[in-house]
Amino acid sequence: MKTPIIAAGLVTLASVANAQDTLTVYTYDSFVSEWGPGPVIEENFEARCGCDLEFVAVGDGAEILSRLRLEGERTEADVVLGIDENLAEAARATALFAPHGIESPQLDLPIAWEDDLFLPFDWGYFAFVYDKTRVETPPTSFEELADSDLSVVIQDPRSSTPGLGLVLWVKAVFGDDADAYWESLNDQVVTVTKGWSEAYGMFLEGEADMVLSYTTSPAYHLIAEDDDTKAAAAFDNGHYMQIEIAGKVASTDTPELADQFMDFILTDGFQGAIPTTNWMYPAKMPADGLPEGFETLHEPENALVYLGAEAEAIRNEAIEEWRAVSSQ
């Protein structure tokens, strides 16, 4: 009985000692936007750490990793939030991360997750989102999409985790014929944006019929805007899964604070904000469950995912294949 009390006391002491400390967290653009999870999570965490939590937006998810490699051990980052399972091996290979230190974390993911470095904080399925008032019969497969004359906007897999997800999704569905598929889709791609925010913005402005996003994106329009005109096209090829992960940077100058933040990720103060601010499924279901409206979303029966070394082995080849075809 005594140990938790002493531990709690130590934590309190530590947070007093760290009163002026700043925890720097690198993340992607939409995470820190005023309608994203950043502000809520910052408030919730600062209330308990007595520190200053500073989010730094570094573009889209994949750019976070490039940024970290460019900065190396000189980086200011203490924690990185928002790379995904497809980049986990590449991130591990940089040797810039330290173990998250949480033993057998309790997760509500549809698949088993074991990783001593990276901790999932949310997950979802990639999907093409469209406007029901403009697209009456959405495609039900990749093949139908390529046969249609719908315009799409996608993200660059080198800078964006959804962009990378799509490249791996196509690879998972078409295997060696992936480049042929890209060729058949090529003339429908209006543009390739650097990140998800840009692409989704273009879609909302009417620059394309469909945008690569998530099955959960329509929930944003439904819940936050009371608008049921957006939907995700259900593909019978299956949907690729994204697991967004966080990691503690080994060179951090505030390791205790970083550990405290890693612990915080799976609590309700973090997870409760995810569904209605990041519009993803929480990695650990908060006590209140999912908000009303999520039950209307498409839940793919066939989830696709490459994990660990497999994703890393395929990634570069898949990106080069895509780049070669789409540069023509």
């Binding site: 460019l70 390739v192 925010s197 023509q328």
Partner: protein
């Protein structure tokens, strides 16, 4: 000749030091890049595509600009109308117009929700998209049509008015005049104009960054940035940088053989009387051409004002900190430009050597991204390059302004030395005294122009800063690019208006400051 030995070495020494620094930055960085490129992977399919895109878009942009400039330049040359002087002056504006501001204006006119698309929709047509190849070419024509028009106009006005008078008295038709007078002139002017514009489009980065449609519309400069920022592949970035340099150098070598026209010609303020062109049909044609060209230039700029004004009151504070940062970079860049240009100009005049300012002008073909990549490779093992983002930007911007500074300063300084050099020499006025008492007062006008140009160019630069910027220290152009990508159009419009106003104000203030109380 009473010049002391000490003074001679001082001029030579300072000039040589400045020139050495320029060479070090232009070629030292290239060596760093070349060493680094050794271990790079192969030049892939997508890299070839970037090379092809770069050359094709530059060719088409230059060809279109020059081809359109011929009728517009002819119309301006043979018509006198109210506002003509203002229009000719406006043709010089795109040169100091920040690229990202122009891109914003072009999106408001030619984008999916822009004026043209709305008009098309009203008539039942599909809206147009500005992203991709045609968007890049459109933006390049927007920037370079005015330059080409000025060059062509100069050619026209260089034909002595007496020839047209003679032609009229001989009963020449417009066709005869075209054959006898105009075509020979165009044959001389157009190749140079084409090459200058081709060279400018070759190193285009910001346009492709903002309007390129992914891998299909990637210039080599953009590919360098991507290899660097997205793939963290310094080897690939270095390899691409070498290709970019080779391309620029090849074109520059060709350009050396063709007489390059100067963009700052005087005497564009008069029209030639053309008896042959005084028909209603030709008058209507010229009126239409001038109107269309004016609209093409003015509409995007007007849209920035229209969209930007309402947003000014609610601009996020990040825009103002970015503005302060940019003004700081611009002012430092002005000082660095002078610190490089004056010694080089002085040495060039003293040694009476064209070669010296020729070498100093080499950076016109250099790529800021290549220099940036090189500096990054050199700095990375020693210190945190990101912490030096702003100083590096100011330095590279100064380097980019140097050719224009030398073009303005060298002839002016030569004149000053020819007029007053012997007197100053006999008075033993050397070193700082000569600089303070003779050069600076006598060079006020070209100095003001140089400082204004360098401030405006640096203020609007979106090149090397994109490589070096930290997320939390953007300059104003970079911040506008980020707002544009995040589709925060209102804020982007307001910020673009701020950038436009400050760039023009800086140019005006320096240029005007140089003219006040200065003798012609």
């Amino acid at each position: 000749m009473a010049r002391g030995v000490l003074a001679v070495t001082r001029t030579t020494g300072a000039g040589a030091a400045a020139l050495a620094l320029v060479l070090l930055l232009a070629f030292g960085t290239l060596i760093a890049v070349a060493l680094r490129a050794e271990g790079a992977g192969a030049f892939g399919v997508a890299d070839w595509a970037a090379l092809r895109f770069t050359v094709v878009q530059a060719t088409l942009s230059a060809a279109l600009s020059v081809a359109l400039a011929v009728p517009v330049g002819r119309a301006l040359a043979r018509r006198q109308f109210r506002g003509r002087a203002a229009l000719v002056m406006l043709l010089g504006a795109p040169f100091i117009l920040p690229v990202i501001v122009a891109v914003f204006g072009l999106i408001s006119v030619f984008g999916r929700s822009g004026l043209v698309s709305q008009a098309l929709l009203a008539f039942g047509f599909e809206p147009i998209s500005i992203y991709g190849f045609h968007g890049v070419v459109l933006a390049h024509v927007f920037f370079n049509l005015p330059l080409a028009t000025r060059l062509v106009l100069q050619g026209w006005l260089a034909i002595p008015a007496e020839r047209f008078r003679l032609a009229a008295s001989l009963g020449f038709t417009s066709h005869d005049i075209a054959q006898q007078l105009e075509r020979p002139m165009l044959r001389e002017v157009l190749p140079g104009a084409f090459l200058v514009i081709f060279l400018l489009c070759l190193t285009s980065f910001a346009v492709a960054l903002a309007l390129g449609g992914g891998p299909r519309a990637t210039t080599i400069e953009l590919a360098i940035y991507q290899a660097f920022r997205l793939d963290f592949d310094l080897g690939k970035a270095a390899l691409l940088a070498l290709v970019q340099f080779a391309l620029g150098a090849a074109v520059a070598l060709v350009a050396l053989r063709v007489a390059l026209p100067s963009g700052f010609g005087a005497g564009l303020d008069r029209a030639v009387t053309r008896w042959d062109a005084n028909t209603p049909a030709l008058r209507a044609l010229d009126a239409m051409l001038i109107t269309l060209a004016t609209l093409f230039l003015v509409l995007p700029l007007a849209m920035i004002a229209v969209d930007g004004l309402p947003a000014l009151a609610t601009l996020p504070s990040s825009v103002f900190t970015a503005t302060a940062r940019s003004v700081g970079v611009a002012l430092v860049s002005v000082l660095l430009t002078l610190a490089l240009a004056l010694p080089i100009a002085a040495w060039s005049v003293k040694a009476a050597s064209k070669l010296i300012d020729g070498i100093g002008s080499l950076t016109i073909a250099a790529s800021p991204l290549v220099i940036g990549t090189g500096l990054f490779i050199i700095l990375f093992p020693v210190t945190d390059p990101f912490a030096l983002a702003l100083p590096v930007t100011a330095l590279v911007n100064a380097l980019m302004s140097l050719p224009f500074a030398l073009r303005a300063l060298v002839p002016a300084l030569g004149q000053v030395e020819a007029d007053y050099g012997r007197l100053a020499g006999s008075l033993g006025m050397t070193g700082m005294a000569r600089l303070r008492l003779l050069w600076l007062p006598r060079l006020r006008r070209p100095l003001g122009f140089t400082m204004g140009l360098s401030a405006a160019l640096s203020m609007g630069d979106l090149g090397v800063i994109a490589l070096f910027a930290s997320p939390d220290t953007p300059t104003l152009p970079l911040q506008i690019y980020r707002l544009l990508s995040a589709y925060r159009m209102d804020d982007a419009a307001g910020a673009a208006l701020v950038l436009l106003a400050i760039s023009l104000a800086l140019f005006w203030a320096f240029d005007r400051g140089g003219r006040v109380n200065a003798d012609a």
